[in-house]
């Protein structure tokens, strides 16, 4: 059984305050991702890779079609069903970490586990291990990541995204802005997630990374609107 089933998925943006411009981004997307499979989304910038990923996460509202993640159709689901899905099943590493002021790095990483009811000690242990693997110096763990560099922020973001062993993972350019050693760590984390059976959709501009972790590539442009 596929963990992610996408059928007839469409997205049209209507900009009411800019003359009612209608932007059809995706007329009809279909995709299946099984357990332990990593599917890479390919296509030029603007072809709708992130849009597709955001619709899977429920962050963008689909205009038509269905996105079934572990049995729940995200397009039709109530907000609280999506929140439960995101807490337990569906992880998302976006390109930007939204930092809450005053919350320490360790707590930022441990938070998804605490939300699941994991004991604070266990959650912090796991957070420490991930931060160590991703080479965030221990002296920074007690600080809020607000003042961190772009690369440090991205690694904190990845640690947070991998804290819980989500059965489904969405990764939007997880290796961008990382040095070689950290890039290697992130690719290993992705391989480990795949090995434990996670269904993964990823966007990788880095071609080596793509060929290394992806089982297959899907060209999003094939879902895109073509000129008649």
């Amino acid at each position: 059984m596929a963990m992610i089933e996408i059928d007839g998925l469409a997205k049209i943006f209507t900009l009411h305050n800019q003359g009612g411009v209608v932007i059809p981004v995706m007329p009809d997307a279909a995709l299946r991702v099984s357990r332990g499979e990593c599917v890479g989304l390919a296509g030029a910038s603007g072809s709708g890779k992130s849009t597709l990923m955001r619709m899977v996460y429920g962050n963008y509202l689909a205009s038509a079609g269905r996105v079934v993640v572990d049995g729940l159709d995200v397009v039709q689901a109530a907000p609280r069903e999506i929140l439960t899905l995101r807490r337990e099943t569906l992880g998302y590493v976006s390109q930007f970490l939204r930092v809450v002021p005053r919350v320490s790095t360790l707590d930022v990483v441990a938070e998804p586990l605490l939300a699941l009811g994991v004991e604070a000690d266990d959650a912090c242990d796991r957070a420490r291990r991930l931060l160590t693997r991703l080479r965030i110096p221990e002296r920074l763990w007690g600080l809020s990541p607000t003042s961190f560099s772009g690369g440090e922020l991205q690694r904190v973001n990845i640690a947070r995204g991998f804290a819980h062993a989500y059965p489904v993972l969405l990764l939007d350019e997880p290796t961008a802005s990382l040095d070689a050693a950290n890039r290697e760590t992130v690719l290993t984390l992705i391989e480990e997630a795949r090995a434990r059976g996670a269904a993964i959709i990823g966007i990788f501009h880095d071609e080596d990374a793509r060929t290394r972790v992806c089982d297959r590539l899907v060209d999003v442009a094939s879902f895109a609107v073509r000129a008649a």
Binding site: P79, R80, L83, V100
Partner: protein
């Protein structure tokens, strides 16, 4: 009037309120579940505060029903319950955090007294216990123990707001109504208050309805969002979905009007 239902904490059906011929809010319906935080956003005059007051029993709606899940599990319409019953709810299961702390505090009573008073209202009598609970709560909202005998008038705006929160949460309410809880505070004080509220909501498993015009506040605190305009709900959904992919013209305007920093 009671009604059986699933596990909704608050069930709002067709609530409307008019000020003469002018509409306050109309046809508002939604369900709030335990542990859920809902944000209500919209410009001044959109009816969000009117709605909050109708839900919290501070205003009587002209139309509609507001069912609250009592501790015995039954749903009871708070609009037609008796005034004493509603007042008991207001002291026990509900809390109301006002925008201006002085509306929610007794300015001539010490900080400890402000917190202790809520406890006494629900039957606490032992002075030592009440004082200990007050000190504990002042600590949780990051007010130093040495300030327990000071009056709120000697506190800064941010401290007054934290004291108001302590006074409201000390009795372990299940539903908190907040009206612009960070309004009028400078941003560093806001950040501290938001972090505090976020922690309390999580740890106590509180449900809350937060009215604000500040989209950053709901992004941090609310699971769900309701956008109001001219007394009507124009859009509802997951907070990040409404903010990142708003559907209604007014929501799009609201989101695109925020200054980027």
């Amino acid at each position: 009037m009671t009604r059986d239902s699933a596990d909704t904490l608050l069930s709002v059906r067709g609530v409307g309120k008019w000020y003469g011929a002018r509409i306050g809010c109309n046809a508002v319906s939604f369900d709030l579940y335990p542990g859920e935080v809902m944000g209500v956003v919209g410009e001044s005059g959109s009816g969000k505060t009117t709605l909050l007051n109708c839900l919290a029993g501070q205003l009587t709606p002209d139309r509609g029903e507001v069912f609250f899940q009592m501790r015995d599990g039954s749903l009871k319409d708070t609009v037609c319950m008796s005034e004493p019953e509603r007042r008991i709810l207001g002291r026990t299961d509900w809390a109301f955090v006002h925008q201006h702390a002085r509306d929610g505090l007794r300015m001539n009573v010490s900080a400890g007294g402000n917190v202790g008073e809520r406890l006494m209202a629900v039957g606490a009598r032992h002075y030592g216990d009440i004082r200990a609970a007050a000190v504990d709560w002042l600590g949780r909202v990051e007010i130093d123990e040495t300030r327990v005998d000071d009056r709120p008038s000697q506190f800064s705006g941010g401290m007054q707001q934290r004291l108001q929160i302590a006074r409201n949460l000390v009795t372990g309410p299940r539903l908190v109504f907040m009206d612009e809880p960070t309004g009028g505070l400078d941003v560093s004080v806001q950040a501290r208050l938001l972090d505090l509220l976020r922690g309390l909501v999580r740890r106590m498993g509180l449900s809350a309805i937060i009215v604000t015009h500040d989209l950053a506040v709901v992004r941090l605190l609310a699971d769900r969002l309701m956008v109001m305009k001219d007394g009507h709900v124009v859009e509802t959904g997951l907070t990040d979905q409404v903010l990142d992919d708003p559907q209604h013209a007014y929501s799009q305007l609201l989101v695109s009007s925020v200054l980027q920093v």
